[in-house]
Assembly symmetry: C2
DNA sequence: GCAATACCTACTAAATCGGTAGACAAAACC
DNA sequence: GGTTTTGTCTACCGATTTAGTAGGTATTGC
């Protein structure tokens, strides 16, 4: 039940991008602003770019920006891109689980847990993060 | 955002104990009933016993039972005993986090996420699991 | 005393986490 | 056209966690 450093760093960097929009920010600027290990951040940005969540510009005057409007990027989108499914049990998605005997209804609990988590993570966008007072 | 095999196995075993109550079940019976690797289950039961969630009886005719009424054991209790806090971010509890700049409100999201997870995991008891239709 | 059981210590292979290093490619500026 | 500033790619690495396994020791009931 833990949020990895990777996801945390990614979201922090992306709020910076949302705030800087429409200007670009370099990886180094992002790393400095949020105190993220620069090379680690680079690898995260690469993954986000492959997933179509950020866009990049090479060369001098280059940098990163969000690939979509901040309203259209949810926290769940970021987690799914970096780690896969929001909630897994023993590596499997809750709907794939099969239980027997008195444990049968455990599946329902995991489904309900995932549903509640989605409620928070899919409803909250980067725009919510940067505009909320 | 994953539920470990350990927690899953623990809950499955504990639903068996709840259903068998007030009779004891041996570790081997539990392992067979829920198809859990026997020695792994033993180590889990040891942790649950240290945490005061199950009680054991040694010797022939021995076995395990719940240490409290099934209504008084929540899923959150089991997770906390085996893994610590329900929700952590980069290894820290959400209330210990500090963010700067546009990432400031990320903390609120993690707090809300934890709150929603608690809603499911603290409200659901072993009794709910075994009696639910 | 014997069988069944829980308890304890130690070990381990594989995956994941959280990074780091260094060379290469492209774009802008002069 | 060369230099500087950036992103891109490949590879590696140590520590921790996960998911177990092995084997002996202590209790209890019959």
């Amino acid at each position: 039940m833990r949020v990895s450093a990777k996801v945390d760093y990614a979201l922090r960097a992306m709020t910076e991008l949302a705030a800087a929009s429409p200007n670009l920010m370099t990886a180094e600027q992002l790393a400095t602003a949020q105190k993220i290990p620069p090379k680690f951040l680079e690898s995260i940005l690469a993954q986000l770019r492959n997933g179509g969540l950020v866009a990049s510009q090479r060369g001098a005057e280059g940098g990163y920006r969000l690939a979509k409007a901040p309203e259209e990027i949810s926290i769940a989108d970021v987690i799914r891109e970096l780690e896969g499914p929001i909630a897994t049990v023993r590596g499997a998605r809750p709907d794939e689980l099969e239980y027997s005997g008195p444990a049968t209804h455990l599946r329902d609990i995991w489904l309900e847990l995932r549903s509640q988590m989605r409620g928070v993570l899919e409803q909250t966008t980067l725009a919510d993060l940067v505009t909320k007072r």
